[in-house]
């Protein structure tokens, strides 16, 4: 931490007001911090904490007049950003600050070549002629580690992958060598391995240019990876602010402690799973091919989503399927639950091959295999009451309505919600609560196997832990088997007995959780493990207990 004299950006009592009728009057409430050269300040918080609002206020991106700065000052190199003229603001924004956004897929203009988009800022704010600008663009593309800058300069954004686009965004932000770089969750939309590369890159350019960086994230792993100082935000207030070492290892505020305790991590105490008896489900050489762009008289392109995938799930076992986006992990889950028809191989469930069964013949098995979906906001029909949503399965299978509704209330209690929730509509619940309803719906048919497709990816960390604990708890209580699909190895480590690592449609490694983490065999598994952010940091010992205590009383956790 530094004194404000040498700070690039000094924020004092920043408040941002929300339009009347919002859930709180101030999105950001008197936040004070400063960033010096060569400092990386991480702003951490959950969704709705106002962390992005801080960045947008500094950059002048607030959707005025609905949301506006209500007080305080932000001094960039001593100049107050909020009191200067519009023209001056524009100049300062170009030269003094750069920003990287969360979603690289939409942050670039699809109709402009990459080179032109980088050049834009140079045209406006520098005195370089067109040759000088071109040289600078090539240099920047080189700096952010993009291959073949000469060709890349002339290509359109759609040719680039998410990671490459984020590099281009960084190149744009760096074009004028700003004193301050603001990165708003720049790696959240990326795969872990790409995230690692981008984090390395940000650190590299930061040291090379001696910039100050404000890095907004919800992930304490990322914080541990790059931060030199940390500000923790909750409900618009900065509840803890200090050096990375202090906040990460000796957190004071209860909220910070809770967040850190919620960081998913590998738990050593889990005993190895020993399969007993026959496998509940055995997938053998499952193959699924999608035909893209086919239609009337058009054949289209073939895309192999799952190729020669084999695994088995024993009663009571949780098998994790881990992989990056496009690895085919969701396709596998959907083939098993019967949402996709596998094109080859066998999926044997208790002795019956499910592949190739007609819709009618498959129906009895629907009871036994149930699914929990990723997005709790999309997985509940907004037009129905919770009781109807949960009991839709049993009613479809012939349970009388009254009985199904009574059962729904029991299930709500089991997943840690009040039975009165049955009479309400989904929109009255938070994301975590909705995911609990989703779990209750899956349990309503008394399944033997649960397919959980990224069940916690859309949730905040603290809620994530609660839902994971709940799943783990219920699984043991009811003796369920589970196929747990996730992109996050840390999450898988917490609930899975066995882990299958998938890459481009194939399983490259399959082994017990302990083995995969301690003795990874495949190169790709090692890359994945290596890419987990914040490995050098151990969650403080006293906080691990907090975690264990909470797992025991899921009922009170319903937020």
């Amino acid at each position: 931490m530094t004194t404000s004299e040498q700070a690039v950006l000094a924020l004092r009592d920043l408040s941002v007001s929300l339009p009347p009728g919002g859930d709180r009057p101030l999105a950001v409430d008197q936040v004070t911090f400063s960033v010096a050269r060569e400092e990386i300040l991480c702003i951490v918080g959950e969704s709705g904490s106002g962390k992005s609002m801080v960045a947008h206020a500094i950059m002048g991106l607030l959707p005025e007049p609905y949301v506006k700065v209500a007080g305080g000052s932000a001094r960039l190199n001593g100049e107050n950003l909020f009191t200067m003229s519009r023209a001056r603001q524009r100049a300062v924004r170009g030269i003094g600050m750069g920003m990287i956004f969360q979603e690289p897929m939409t942050a670039l203009n699809p109709l402009m070549r990459v080179g032109e988009q980088i050049e834009e800022a140079l045209k406006l704010h520098s005195r370089l002629d067109s040759r000088g600008r071109r040289a600078r663009v090539l240099e920047l593309l080189q700096d952010v580690g993009l291959p073949n800058p000469g060709d890349l300069r002339r290509s359109y954004p759609f040719r680039l992958s998410g990671g490459q686009r984020q590099r281009v965004m960084i190149a744009i932000a760096l074009a004028l060598e700003p004193d301050l770089l603001i990165a708003d969750e720049p790696t959240t939309a990326l795969d872990v391995t790409t995230q690692k590369q981008i984090l390395d890159l940000i650190r590299k350019v930061q040291t090379a240019c001696g910039m100050g960086v404000i890095f907004i994230t919800h992930d304490f792993g990322v914080v541990a990876e790059i931060a030199t100082s940390v500000a923790v935000m909750q409900h618009g207030k900065c509840v803890e602010y200090g050096s990375a070492d202090t906040v990460l290892n000796r957190p004071e505020h209860p909220y910070t402690r809770e967040l850190i305790a919620a960081v998913p991590h590998y738990i050593e105490h889990r005993e190895d799973f020993t399969p007993k008896g026959q496998a509940l489900l055995k997938a053998e050489a499952v193959r699924k091919v999608f035909r893209v762009g086919s239609g009337f008289l058009r054949r289209g392109r073939e895309l192999v989503a799952a190729d020669n995938v084999s695994l088995s799930i024993h009663p009571g076992e949780t098998v994790g399927v881990v992989g990056e986006s496009g690895s085919g992990k969701s396709t596998l889950g959907r083939c098993i639950v019967g949402l996709h028809k596998a094109d080859g191989g066998r999926i044997v469930f208790q002795g019956t091959d499910l592949v190739g069964l007609s819709r009618k013949r498959f129906r009895p098995f629907r009871k036994d295999v149930q699914m929990i979906f990723q997005d709790p906001y999309a997985s509940l029909n907004p037009r129905y009451r919770v009781a109807d949503i949960i009991s839709q399965g049993p009613i479809a299978f012939g349970t009388p309505r009254k009985q199904a509704h009574a059962r729904a209330e029991e299930l709500l209690e089991l997943v840690g919600l009040d039975p009165s929730a049955a009479r309400r509509f989904p929109h009255e619940f938070s994301g975590g609560q909705r995911q609990r309803i989703s779990i209750a719906r899956a349990l309503a048919l008394d399944p033997k196997l649960l397919i959980a497709d990224e069940p916690v990816s859309a949730l905040d960390v603290s809620v994530q832990t609660q839902v994971l604990d709940l799943l783990d708890d219920i699984r043991h209580q009811l003796g369920l088997s589970m196929l747990f699909i996730t992109h996050d190895l840390r999450v898988a480590a917490q609930v899975c007995d066995t882990i299958a690592v998938m890459q481009t449609g194939r399983i490259v490694e399959l082994g017990s959780c302990r083995d995969v983490f301690s003795r990874p065999q495949h190169e790709y598994t090692r890359t994945l493990l290596d890419a987990i952010p914040g490995q050098g940091w151990e969650i403080p010992k006293d906080l691990r207990h907090l975690r264990a205590d909470r797992a025991r009383r899921p009922r009170e956790l319903s937020q």
């Binding site: 929300l18 339009p19 999105a27 607030l62 959707p63 609905y66 949301v67 239609g295 009337f296 639950v337 019967g338 949402l339 129906r363 629907r366 009871k367 295999v369 149930q370 699914m371 979906f373 990723q374 997005d375 999309a378 997985s379 509940l380 029909n381 907004p382 037009r383 839709q392 399965g393 479809a396 299978f397 989703s438 719906r441 309503a444 048919l445």
Partner: protein, 281 residues
């Protein structure tokens, strides 16, 4: 839900005015026999009486029929044809669109090519041909207007179904063993209804215009007084007796405008995310 809906609807002054006008037209149609008990076809006074004459408020036409009576009775035909033909169009359009959107693949291809077939023929020409073939009557008018009005509704329903079909709550319904009919009718349809209702309300306005245009050409039901017929019959004397075509024209304008205003109000109230601008996240 419904209280929010009414509040949003009432916030739009245009929609409230539209609703009031529409109510007036509906009342006029309902009480036509009370207001003007005599047939609108009967000749009650001297021809070519200007508006505000003794016994005819809006003047009389070339045969001495009361224009005001014609307008009041004509509202019945307009509303009847507008509503029934839109209902039929809605039924055909949503059924085909839902099937195409839900099943996709060759079903979608077949239904959409069929829809395009109708869209490539100009609406009005097709309607004229159909009515001419089936001889003009209320039934053939409704059928013809419905046949030319369903394609946009089908496309809209298809789009909604396409996007909702892959939503997770629909997948969840599949995995819990719901039947296909139930998924289409109970899971997807209620969620796709708001844009369809809005489009259907605008279809009513277009149907009224189509009916007027057909009647203008002499293709209306010969037994029923209609606004379009009144304009058509008096078009030759428009320079001598402006009121004969002016008042029916105003009636069409007001009714169609009212329905459009209501439709827009419905749109704002049912799709609040599109209506509210510039809200922070």
């Amino acid at each position: 839900m419904s209280r929010d809906f009414w509040r949003a609807f009432a916030n739009n002054y245009g929609a409230v005015i539209g609703l009031a006008l529409l109510l007036a037209v509906v009342l006029m149609a309902a009480f036509a026999d009370v207001i003007y008990p005599r047939s609108p076809w009967s000749m009650v006074t001297t021809p070519f009486q200007p508006p505000l004459s003794d016994d005819v408020l809006l003047g009389s036409d070339t045969l001495g029929r009361d224009i005001a009576a014609g307008i009041v009775h004509g509202s019945r035909v307009s509303l009847l044809i507008g509503l029934t033909s839109s209902a039929v169009a809605l039924f055909i359009g949503v059924t085909l669109g839902a099937l195409a959107g839900y099943f996709g693949g060759w079903v979608d291809d077949a239904i959409m090519r069929f829809t395009e077939l109708f869209q490539t023929i100009p609406n009005f020409v097709l309607a004229v041909v159909l009515v001419a073939i089936f001889t003009p009557s209320i039934g053939s008018l409704v059928a013809a207007i419905a046949i030319v009005s369903w394609p946009p509704l089908a496309r809209l329903a298809r789009g909604e179904f396409l996007s909702l079909r892959s939503r997770e709550f629909v997948l969840a319904a599949v995995t819990t063993g719901q039947s296909t009919t139930r998924i289409i009718l109970r899971e997807i349809l209620p969620n796709s209804l708001s844009p369809i209702i809005v489009a259907a309300s605008l279809t009513v306005a277009t149907a009224i215009l189509l009916e007027s245009a057909l009647s203008f050409l002499g293709l209306g039901d010969p037994n029923m007084m209609s606004w379009g017929y009144m304009i058509g019959a008096s078009r030759t004397v428009i320079r001598q007796a402006w009121w004969m075509s002016f008042f029916p024209g105003i009636a069409i304008l007001i009714t169609v405008l009212a329905i459009n205003l209501v439709g827009e109000g419905l749109n704002d109230a049912l799709n609040p995310k599109l209506a509210r601008k510039g809200r922070g996240r």
